[in-house]
Symmetry: C2
């Protein structure tokens, strides 16, 4: 087997590994794999492979390394940076984990779930729930995103404040290396200091160092009490002060603290069926405060009431609604989670996924708003997100009546001014969505040269043939 | 500058970087750097360098790479695996971070401390306390161990259950690479998905990939309530059940759960001044349960009382003492933390630092005890540690009246049978102390070959001249 095989023979050999029934070769079948949700990237590929086992993944990558065939791993296809989209030259073969979607084992005594790389996040959550546990990773696309992709992008979401990113929720991995070798690192130990941390190197590498085919995931105790409040605020400063108070008072019981602007509430109540504003009064900013307690429902209740009472007294909070039922808690969160989708009917949206030290959020917002309005006075800024993590989805809807294509054409220009503010506050221009194609070159230009150099050396060491998701993360 | 310089000229050039006053060349001055606490390793070195800045560390490593001079980084010298001890051939130059011991900055709004690699752990704890925060890493040697070493070994300790290992407490690093290049990764972001996770690669690499000269460390809110109980138990099974109950009931408020055997209590009360058994009744096993709550002192109080009441009712707990003052809380912990030291007057001790999935601890202890007693019927097993982390310090004191040297000579033989039990339970033979010299070859023999191979490729990519702490972690 070598690089001189004809293309047809090579593709045939790949198909033989998984069998005809598990390979897509017709243009119409392949099409859904060639774009991503935002429509920013359109790639081409002759073949989608759907292996059914780790051994098949291994055989595919071995053949790929031997023949110099580039492979793009595909998980739930919900990524937002083009990491799962093949390049335009039509050379990349797609490797989809969709058939490897089993929950391999739930061990409630060790508090772990072992899952295939293609297991859907919601299925992992349900498996934990069935054992009266919580798998805390939670994000908008949880019904279709898959564990392998969650790990490859070190996914964040709405419960990071209390439970951390995906990195913190994983104890062990099974990875097929670009050479086809299998690393069985499926450990389920809380502590293991026995060599270099390979696990964390694969997590967040966006499929450029290997394919994650299995993982040991941590479960945590299910909270016994929960309270969610929707709070009207005068400014991001007030939100920050409320967050600090909540953090001090609630400690690790503070599970979520999300910031939302008035315009986001307007978009959401207007465009998303069934969503309404929980408050009758109108405020420039809002926070969603989520408190979960391990001991009893009353503790969460008391904590939230005392926090809000204190915040009212300090003049931080203008008005607030505390959810009175599970349905209301879900409705409050649904409002927040629909915010991105609610921008769609408003036309084009230029997006940023940035983080700064939490204390810098008000200054960042003020400076970024000024910079964007200097470029486009009528742009409608809809900045929302995980204030407690310092992570803002700084989205900008087009001016009313503007031309969508002309607006979107200014994506990079707008990025440049917003990211300049991020750098001024020592932040990251890629907080939770990853690098993919979208931010590859911009990151390389902004990080220390030695860092890119070390990444390049690692890539070379793990993938000497350069076949794994080429063109993503590093050039 | 090249490898053909005479040894004397080479050493002279190193001394010139830090200045005469900051270089030790006299045998008597160097001597304390050549051994470690347990007396297992004795090395040799012609020179100890004490750089005063990151730039000086950089100059040292650049010269070392150019001249092929091996460098052993030295932090607080409290490591237990020989990682900080030079080799016996006298070629290694020691690089001590002891002069780089500053707290560079405390930022209570971003909840971070920026510290030099040589800052003493207790000083970091105090700096957090001065700002009404907690830096949660806590271990026996905290008065002398240093942050660089804590990071290089991914230190654990007694609060891992709630706060994680050192890895979870670090946001960013400054590292001098073996080539002398400086990586400024001193980020203070909660979220940053912008490339390969270099930080976690340096953490736990035991100084074989570079020297950690600075770090951004996380502070957490100081608990408002705390309760510590000392509990008498019939068996490790009862301890495990109590842990599960505590975990379910207290969630993240359960800060510590330590297991201790009767013999450990006997050694400690006998040999450590001022320590007494908090219970008058005698039990085969004991647990130390530590609950910290963020909201109020009463919550911790109530939680502990309800937990113990329920455990008594279920027949899990035979007797218990709840600390009635801060002094008593400290006394309970002092008993636990003196347990290793209390073994010393009893003669030789063969030690293991192992982890297994938490649920396997009772089976592990039973099988390991049987295996050790089959070898040495009169060996006195003193197995204690972090049950909640699945991490046991499985220590074995020599039989009464035995010859210490003859007993210690059987170290590897005893290791072999204990570690075989660990492997049977899919555990780690290096849970928190690291690899160093002590476990290098044994780990290489027990882990998948591909894992050692990947580690070797990373080592080669970061340290092409092979000068960084050679012979440690990987051969």
């Amino acid at each position: 087997m070598n690089v001189t095989m004809s293309l047809a023979d090579r593709l045939r050999a790949f198909v033989d590994i998984v069998g005809e029934a598990n390979a897509l070769t017709a243009t119409a079948d392949i099409k859904p794999y060639l774009t991503e949700n935002r429509g920013l990237y359109h790639g081409a590929s002759p073949l989608v492979l759907k292996p059914g086992s780790t051994a098949e993944v291994s055989a595919i990558l071995k053949l790929a390394s031997e023949t110099g065939t580039s492979i793009v791993p595909v998980s739930g296809r919900t990524g937002l940076v083009g990491g799962q989209v093949p390049r335009e030259d039509g050379q990349d073969v797609l490797l989809s984990l969709e058939r490897m979607n089993r929950i391999r084992e739930v061990d409630p005594v060790a508090d772990v779930i072992v899952a295939d790389g293609g297991a859907i996040l919601a299925d992992v959550q349900k498996a934990a729930e069935a054992h009266d546990r919580l798998f805390p990773l939670s994000l908008g696309s949880e019904g279709s995103c898959r564990i392998g992709g969650n790990l490859a992008t070190n996914a964040g979401g709405t419960a990071v404040l209390a439970y951390g990113n995906m990195r913190q929720l994983c104890l062990g991995l099974e990875v097929v290396l670009p050479t086809g070798e299998i690393w069985d690192g499926l450990r389920r130990l809380k502590k293991d200091n026995s060599g270099y941390d390979l696990r964390d190197l694969f997590i967040g590498a966006e499929g450029t160092l290997g394919v994650i085919t299995g993982a040991v995931l941590k479960m945590v105790p299910r909270p016994r009490g929960r309270q969610v409040a929707y709070v009207g605020l005068a400014s991001p400063e007030a939100a920050l002060q409320l967050f600090e108070k909540a953090s001090q008072r609630c400690g690790s019981a503070l599970t979520g603290f999300e910031l939302m602007p008035r315009i986001g509430i307007e978009f959401t109540t207007k465009h998303i069926a069934g969503v309404r504003d929980p408050l009758t009064s109108i405020h420039p900013w809002y926070a969603l405060v989520d408190i979960s307690t391990s001991d009893s429902a009353e503790t969460a209740e008391t904590m939230m009431q005392e926090l809000l009472a204190e915040a009212f007294e300090a003049g931080l909070v203008s008005d607030a609604a505390i959810a009175s039922s599970l349905a209301q808690q879900n409705a409050f969160w649904h409002l927040r989670e629909s915010m991105s989708e609610a921008q769609r009917p408003e036309g084009g949206s230029i997006k940023h996924d940035v983080s700064v030290p939490v204390s810098r959020i008000p200054a960042f917002l003020a400076e970024a708003d000024a910079a964007v309005h200097a470029l486009m006075p009528d742009a409608r800024i809809c900045a929302f997100g995980h204030l407690g993590d310092g992570n803002i989805h700084y989205n900008i809807s087009q001016p009313v009546g503007a031309d969508k294509a002309a607006f979107i054409a200014r994506w990079r220009e707008v990025n440049a001014v917003v990211h300049a503010v991020v750098h001024r506050h020592t932040g990251s221009i890629s907080a939770e969505h990853g690098v993919g194609q979208l931010k590859r070159d911009e990151l390389a230009a902004s990080r220390p040269a030695i860092e890119t150099e070390l990444m390049r050396r690692i890539k070379q060491a793990f993938d000497p043939a350069g076949i794994m998701n080429p063109g993503k993360v590093i050039g």
